[in-house]
């Protein structure tokens, strides 16, 4: 890394950018969306949600028998924001085992969102009217207080979601930390120079965050990258 240290093992997201400065005006291209951004969701106290909510086990009605457990349920919180107010076109979840090997990938388009009464609306990226003035996105993207209300970027939080999804228990056969990578595809093929739908970069570089959730056998913690994780309980609760 820049300070000479070796980056820790893990899953990293990245953006490749190409720039031609000799042209007038300069030309550029990137392998990541210029429109769609994933933001960390905030709770009722406006604090970032750094963890995934463990929801429970599908133990098939036999909580004493762990061998027939079918699924583990999680809730992944996030906010989607699109500078042109378009929804995402797809969302994918990749699970990595403790050896950082991908063990599966799934689409979450049909996953219910507990933030919106179970609607499968996890791709919605319409910003919310945070300041309640009936206007959306009034100071974005220039960060200037264009409407003169003294607040900057007031409606850039995007649409917050909490997707409930489940994964088979057999995928968690190893002990250690499991990583969940969630990524979204934008819906800007008509805007892209090559008619592409591009992957949104997970979270912005300034915040130095990753859209990765960890599942571990340790206490709650956040790493230097603010990677959230969730603990699998030794005594799985019964879903009601």
């Amino acid at each position: 890394m820049d300070d000479g240290t070796i980056a820790p093992a893990g899953v990293y997201v990245y953006r490749l950018g190409a720039y031609v400065y000799s042209s007038a005006p300069p030309d550029r291209d990137s392998n990541r969306s210029d429109y769609l951004f994933i933001k960390r969701a905030v709770d009722e106290n406006n604090e970032p949600i750094l963890y995934a909510d463990y929801w429970g086990y599908d133990d098939k009605g036999t909580p004493a028998d762990e061998f027939d457990d079918a699924f583990i349920y999680f809730i992944r919180w996030y906010s989607l924001y699109d500078t042109a107010h378009r929804n995402a076109s797809a969302v994918r979840l990749v699970l990595f085992d403790p050896d950082v090997n991908p063990v599966g990938e799934w689409g979450l388009e049909a996953a219910p969102c507990i933030a919106h009464a179970g609607s499968a609306d996890g791709l919605v990226a319409i910003p919310t009217d945070d300041d309640g003035d009936g206007l959306y996105d009034e100071d974005c993207p220039d960060g200037v207080d264009n409407d003169g209300d003294g607040v900057q970027n007031e409606d850039t939080a995007g649409a917050m979601h909490g997707l409930l999804f489940h994964l088979p228990t057999y995928l968690f056969s190893k002990s250690g930390e499991y990583r969940f990578l969630v990524y979204f595809m934008d819906e800007h093929s008509i805007d892209d120079k090559a008619h592409r739908t591009r992957v949104a970069l997970g979270l912005n570089a300034q915040a130095d965050m990753l859209p990765i959730l960890w599942v571990g056998n340790d206490e709650y913690r956040a790493t230097q990258f603010q990677i959230a994780w969730v603990r699998i309980p030794l005594e799985p609760p019964t879903l009601t």
Partner: protein, 204 residues
Amino acid sequence: MLCYSNGGGVLTALCLLCLHDAHASVTVYAVWYPNGYNSPPQVAQNGATIGGWFYLRLRVQPQSGYIISASVTQSTLAEQTDVHPVTPTSPTFQSTQPNPAYGDPTDNVVVLQSQQNLADRHNGQYRLDVTVQYTVSTGNPPPNDRQTFTEVASFTFNVLNLLLVDSRAEPYFVWKPDEMTGVAFSAQLQHAQAGTCTVKDIPQ
């Protein structure tokens, strides 16, 4: 040459002949910089692939008479695609000096050009349709000393501006410092222009 359409059979025939002659007098081509803006521009003919800034040029050269003026009365530049709705633009053309290096004659010609930059638009095929109105001096005594013609011309070209194609299918990479010495990134850069491109890799 008299070209008034007065209903007379002979004059009508002359007029058609005149229009036929005039139809071959407008040539459309492009001028672009295949090796960057510090290198000489080159002419691109119909069907060529170009990128970056370029000029669309109309060479108006009458087959007979001496040209007095020429202007574009209508122009449409549109992407040729069925993938999405197309919103054509209307390029504005202005008179400029003929350039022999581009194949322009130096006498009895009017050259009109429009500067274009499609970097913020799609790569793909585009078609320019223009209606050119030009006036020539016939050499006849007034009031038949001038004749105005209208001609339609088109030009099709392909645009290829900077495009980065990541070789990695996954939008992430795995880093295992105990097993790996580094992470390789590769991408294909596509551009009609030759030149130097800066590529940045920004891990998050």
